[in-house]
Symmetry: C2
Subunit: 510 residues, 2 copies
Amino acid sequence: MAEVYVAGVGMTKFGKSSQTLTELFCEAAQRALESSSVDVEALYVGVMNPEEFTGDSNIASQITDALGLTGLPALRVETASSAGAAALHAAFHAVASGYYRNVLVLGGEKMTHLSTSATTRILAEVIDREERRCGATMPALAAMITERYRKRYRLSRSRLERILCRVAIKNHRNGAANPYAQFQNPISEKAYFSSKLVATPLRLYDCSPITDGAAAVVLTAERTDVLVSGIGHGTGPLSLRERDTFTSFRATQIAAARAYRMAGISPREIDFAEVHDAFTPFEIITSEDLGFFPAGKGWRAVEDGTTAPDGALPINPSGGLKSRGHPVGASGVAQVVEAVWRLRGASEPKPKREPRRALAQSTGGLGSNNFVTILERAGAPRPGQGAAPVPAPAVSHAPQSKKDATPPPPSDEGKIETFTVLYVTPDGFLPPLALALVRDRRGALLMAQGEDVGHLRIGREVFLRQVEGVYYFTVKSHLKKVREGLKRLLRGLPSLRRKGRQGQGRKKTV
Amino acid sequence: MAEVYVAGVGMTKFGKSSQTLTELFCEAAQRALESSSVDVEALYVGVMNPEEFTGDSNIASQITDALGLTGLPALRVETASSAGAAALHAAFHAVASGYYRNVLVLGGEKMTHLSTSATTRILAEVIDREERRCGATMPALAAMITERYRKRYRLSRSRLERILCRVAIKNHRNGAANPYAQFQNPISEKAYFSSKLVATPLRLYDCSPITDGAAAVVLTAERTDVLVSGIGHGTGPLSLRERDTFTSFRATQIAAARAYRMAGISPREIDFAEVHDAFTPFEIITSEDLGFFPAGKGWRAVEDGTTAPDGALPINPSGGLKSRGHPVGASGVAQVVEAVWRLRGASEPKPKREPRRALAQSTGGLGSNNFVTILERAGAPRPGQGAAPVPAPAVSHAPQSKKDATPPPPSDEGKIETFTVLYVTPDGFLPPLALALVRDRRGALLMAQGEDVGHLRIGREVFLRQVEGVYYFTVKSHLKKVREGLKRLLRGLPSLRRKGRQGQGRKKTV
């Protein structure tokens, strides 16, 4: 396989833009082309859903025309919110094969012109259809993953909140030093805790914003100062209900193992990382999936400052998706742009030691289609033979027959595996909306809507009923309380009646 | 570059299906996997617009889960109606680079559940926005290209109609022998000429149908009986108004030159071809762009039977898009499936001599993003050094500054470059609708709506006016006739008046 280098990079300022999607792509492309001295032979465009966001179809041809590069091969690649990284990897293969010597990779999206509810709806289309039917959104599922992580690693609610707040504060502070970031101001602890709840325990400041922007990278077979030394890609179940774990992303673990093996390094050799913090807890979980910290210990690295810009392993020194912004198709390319700038020493805040190796990690959907890219300064000393291989989860390469087409009849009882209360609901659902992932008596996982937002706890027993294909749950202890209340009321009734009879002789007053 | 072979192929029956898009993909995938003895490492999915056709987002992850292959890298590739071919080429690069040894390529689309008007609207999104605003659809632009071809190569209207009819009859007869084809019956000349006009001169039987279906190919680095010996990809302007020719597709010429060079052959070495006959005239134009026949001579090959299944160079022996059907994202992969079957001798109708080399050509949008794939039976004798290189149109590899942002004021006169009368119009437009590509006095091309459907001819002078961003044309000769009619009327008026005065004494009748 031929070695693949980065010839040039560029991006637009991220944020709310008055430019069209094609104009954003062109601005990023022209910057990357100007910063490299090569003529490109093909275009790879990563974009998630221009059809619905901006009504643009045949986007690869549109951009090629707009750039005045008509004639060159151009294609669009899509894997939900990791589309930019997917385009980069497809372009990598084309250069590594020797078919092209120089290619232009673009990632971009335009989202801010739509209402938040329209954007949320389009973004939610990438999650499982049945989970969506219950009212689940991206933040809802992220929140359920967070609650499960908290429970599994025995963090108190207040401690978890303080950890997430630290991630948000760190990334906003980093973004404030990045002129391309959407948010240019640090945030305070007070601001974090006064920001509105989106889906318990996630607040507005735990979620990446809605953003316009584009980023570009020119890949080349010619030797430059930055080598793409490892790439890896993996998938995980689209649906939460099909997962064997909620506290890590298998897709990231698979992608990381492959990328480390290709680069011939272990996670210890990475000097900084740009990871997909669409939600603050995902930065922590991903830092574990990438092998930087053991499972369940990533939060400590936030508490002790390891992932701060002056720490031993800076994470998201650019501000991450949280503060740089998240034009979905752009983020996977923007991470690589930021990493290249930092490897070249051109970014603030400055790290303690000169970085030699960077890792970029991009997540598609709710962790269903993830990518890892390792970049290194050309000529960086290779690690010794001691680089411990990173184990990857087992993956089947032969199609598995799916479970029975006719599952056993659904059970009407189960246990909460994780839950959230949604305060920002999709159209057609009133807040607050309780959602729980329930394991029923058959052992199957179901997404269910709660009839009450209180009394929720992992492990609680619930009653289930299905109405028109949607499951509803009622917490048993809650039901017991309601029943006892009713009993008390009933016990009181005869005396009331008696009182009523006693009063029959009284005069009626008007 | 490592050699890339075909390990297995499979497809669903094309037509109207009750299966979901994912089920169609799975059926095709399972057939391809069963027919190959390898375990695949990654999935490449070609599909044009599942977001709007079926409401499916994050489709690569969906299919991976449905196949029980969760964990494997999976991505979606899109280039409008050539998406399947685009996925195949991206997968080719991945195997040629040595990164993967075996990959699964899928192409598919589900369209028949929508109304014809909804489907037409989604398909029309791939053409230029301004041309669409005038009421242009895919058949409208294809018709305008056809009219220009007729005029340029001096074919009478009736001769052109007979030629297109022969393409339709040939492809329907071929499809009748193909159990996977949507249409299983030959059509008669009478049926062709009694089918309704869609956009002059194209009739319903000149247009590929609306179809559901999926196709799959397993590519491998292991030697098999079929080698992918050449691939090429090119783009052309999205908009007709930006083209330097209407009678050929630059994107195909670029793709073909690259594929022939890679395979080390000339068009003479191709034994049969599957080409993108979304419209019957495109089969003829494409056969010229591929270098099979000189420009303007492709129609002769139809007339003299050269492209019939028993001719010297069978084209679309499978029935082509015309008769096999055209589930847009599927067609680019289906062509390769058909070509592999035929190279292996497993298809009807049987050719005169055993084929050794096949070519598949796929068109994205209105010829804006096209692919050529050359397949050969492993061990086929290489041609001598005499293989003449195929010239490719010049392509700029450095961005061209676009024309002035502020063009000169539009002229109010021009000449018709080509035209059509649309009898099947998009929503909001009443048939018949005249559309013309007009070159105005500045030399710029404009798409304009006609105020009358008569008096249309290439080269005719027209008046132009612009109302709310849409151009309208009136044929000058037509205007002259109207003016003369008015003059005649005016000349007649005094005598009428006189007559009227003379009659003043008459009684009024009620």
